[in-house]
């Protein structure tokens, strides 16, 4: 059996072979693991890996599983399924090319109107969540085509708050 798994945006091929009722052997990169597990409850998997024991806490999500081990979390998903759902996570973070909030938030102030000319880095919208204000900046020089929100609106990451038509030269490809 082979899994192609995406862990925090990196794809791993894992060869897996069952061994015993609650055991399997796995090869990740050039590392071999001998694993057994106990399904303690819906959220806890007790693993024995090459004799060492560790508890993993697992939470299923729409598009993968969040796994917490020793205080650290990973998002693991099936790389072959990922594309189908059109999820677009990290990599190109939100807010880099678009005016979208980094967190669920409320719009506190809108500093531009349709037709305004904006410069890259100019503050266009201020949002607030959990009492922290965040200013969203224009990602490039441009012209405000449309303002999609008003003060008081609740917004989510991915929501485009202001459409800006690029007028500056390049910046299509930009380092993160």
């Amino acid at each position: 059996m082979e899994y192609r798994l995406n862990v925090n945006e990196e794809i791993f091929s894992v060869e897996v072979e069952n061994s015993g009722k609650h055991g399997f052997r796995a090869r990740i990169r050039d590392q071999e693991y001998d694993a057994e597990y106990v399904h303690v409850d819906d959220h806890q998997i007790h693993l024995k890996v090459d004799g060492r024991r560790v508890n993993a806490y697992v939470c299923g999500q729409d598009d993968g599983k969040i796994i917490s081990i020793r205080g650290r979390c990973w998002f693991v998903s099936d790389a072959d399924l990922a594309g189908q759902k059109g999820t677009r996570k990290k990599g190109l973070g939100p807010g880099l090319q678009e005016v979208t909030p980094p967190m669920p938030a409320v719009v506190i102030a809108v500093a531009v109107r349709e037709g305004d000319v904006v410069e890259k880095g100019q503050g266009v919208v201020v949002v607030s969540a959990m009492k922290m204000e965040t200013t969203l900046f224009a990602p490039y020089d441009g012209l405000v085509k449309k303002v999609n929100v008003c003060e008081g609106d609740k917004v989510m990451p991915g929501d485009i708050l202001v459409d800006i038509e690029k007028t500056g030269p390049d910046s299509e490809i930009e380092a993160e």
Partner: protein
């Protein structure tokens, strides 16, 4: 003692106050907004009153509704927690008028000290050193610029009201002044309902050390040692400890005396905190008095063995302080880590959402003051604090080791938290050395990213979970067929109720 009190707050602090009330046989009334119908503080109270819309001004900041809830339920007193109305002298006045005891200082004291300008004057008059800066509120950025030139950049723009890191901006140059003032004022207005700001000197290598004080209505005023609160992000504390790594008996004596002097000068009653900046030469400057229970009060409780909420209640109902200064001494070392719903990889932006799964660490010397549970929603309308993890051990090194071990067993899934970040900070040489200034995070952890060492284990766990799911037929059994025989599962016999 009161028979019933109302807690005008939410989250971990409301739960913590209810805890002490339960032990004292005091009935509790929670209040909640529409966003908090199933919040933990509602589930653990004896009664609960809905205040309305999630918007704080419609609920937790709505004085009339809260006082009406107290009257309606027969609560004799109101505990304000921290934040919200805890330092609002108008609210105290309204409580007085309504004949409901406010568990905190008198209105006049809150008014004087809550206005940071008045507080600075009181302290200067009583001989407590204050930081250089303005002694009056200022709306004009130009005047701010002038003062900043005088005392030298960087300077701090600060709301005269409130606390908790809200309404604060560091300004490094004249160019930043106007935006910083506007933004700080707006944030202050939204958080405290008061947009007044002023300016003071910003110390780059400073420590934030505060003293807990208690004062009863008979003039007995004591301090309960210091707390070191220098580790901050976004000007808000995330790690606090006591004793301070730099404290000496002589300096403690001197600062403790200053704290008691400050409290007496202000006519202080109930629990409060006198905050100081301490520079690299151990000179200390009065910053402000927080006229409420502090978020980080548990570290003081751990080393002094004194329940501060109980003291607040005793004082508020007119009892004498049951402890005197000579009874108060610290034992061991306590550290608190604040577990916020926020993303330390991404500028600590808030991370509201549903807590899909929560597992709290426990064990000797471990305390977790928690306001959430598995399955609850963390609303975006309020402060992002989920819980406070506190440890107590014989020495600082042992407390650090205990905290790291506890954090490793803290499972929060569904919202982002700084658990992994805190593990790395606590385990760092910089923190171990105790050289902790308010710029500690920026200096040592500005570009922090989580270790990826255990990624292979995460992959194996994913696969095991897939296998377990595909094996699961019918209902879930703990450990599945790891359990040996029907005998051991005791079959249909009902073994206990």
């Amino acid at each position: 003692m009161f028979k019933k009190i109302l807690i005008a707050n939410r989250g971990e602090i409301a739960v913590r106050v209810i805890n002490t009330c339960r032990e004292m046989g005091i009935q509790t009334v929670a209040v909640y907004s529409d966003a908090d119908k199933t919040a933990l503080h509602v589930l653990v109270a004896d009664e609960a009153v809905c205040l309305g819309d999630a918007e704080p001004t419609q609920s937790y900041l709505n004085m009339e509704k809260i006082i009406a809830a107290a009257k309606e339920t027969g609560a004799e007193a109101i505990h304000p927690g921290y934040g919200f109305l805890s330092e609002n002298s108008r609210f105290v006045g309204k409580c007085d008028q309504a004949g409901v005891v406010f568990i905190g200082p008198p209105a006049q004291v809150i008014r004087d000290l809550g206005d940071k300008i008045t507080a600075r004057r009181i302290m200067a008059d009583s001989g407590v050193p204050i930081t250089p800066g303005l002694t009056s509120a200022e709306a004009d950025a130009a005047v701010m610029r002038t003062e900043a030139e005088k005392i030298g950049y960087p300077v701090l723009i600060k709301a005269t009201a409130g606390g908790g890191g809200k309404g604060i901006r560091i300004v490094h140059s004249s160019a930043e002044m106007a935006d910083a003032c506007a933004s700080a004022a707006r944030e202050a207005k939204s958080a405290f309902g008061n947009g007044d700001i002023y300016l003071e000197k910003f110390f780059t290598n400073a420590r934030h050390i505060e003293f807990q004080v208690l004062a009863d209505q008979f003039g007995n005023t004591v301090h309960l040692l210091e707390r070191e609160c220098s580790v901050q992000r976004r000007h808000q504390k995330i790690i606090e400890e006591t004793p301070s790594p730099i404290m000496t008996p002589a300096l403690r004596e001197k600062m403790g005396r200053a704290a008691v002097t400050a409290a007496r000068a202000a006519g202080y009653v109930n629990a409060g905190t006198v905050e100081f900046l301490v520079d690299e030469n151990n000179n200390f400057y009065f910053l402000e008095v927080n006229t409420r229970l502090q978020v980080e009060h548990p570290v003081t409780e751990m080393i002094t063995g004194i329940d501060l909420v109980r003291m607040q209640l005793e004082i508020a109902c007119g009892n004498k302080l049951p402890v005197s200064q000579k009874d108060i001494f610290g034992r061991g070392h306590a550290i608190e880590c604040r577990i916020y719903a926020e993303d330390p990889e991404n500028g600590f932006v808030p991370s509201p959402g549903k807590i899909a799964y929560l597992k709290e660490p426990s064990g000797p010397g471990i305390r977790n003051d928690c306001g959430v549970y598995s399955g609850v929603d963390v609303p975006m309308a309020y402060d992002p604090i989920l819980s406070k993890l506190i440890v107590h051990a014989r020495t600082r090194d042992l407390a650090i080791a205990k905290m790291v071990a506890a954090l490793q067993r803290y499972v929060v899934v569904g919202v982002k938290t700084p658990v992994a970040f805190l593990m790395d900070v606590l385990a760092s040489d910089a923190f171990a050395g105790g050289n902790v200034f308010t710029n500690f995070i920026d200096t040592h952890f500005s570009s922090w990213h989580p270790e990826t060492g255990d990624a292979d284990l995460a992959l194996l766990a994913f696969i095991a979970d897939e296998m377990a799911a595909s094996r699961k037929t019918g209902q879930k059994i703990s450990g599945e067929d790891a359990i040996l025989t029907p005998w051991q599962t005791l079959g249909a016999w009902r073994p206990g109720l």
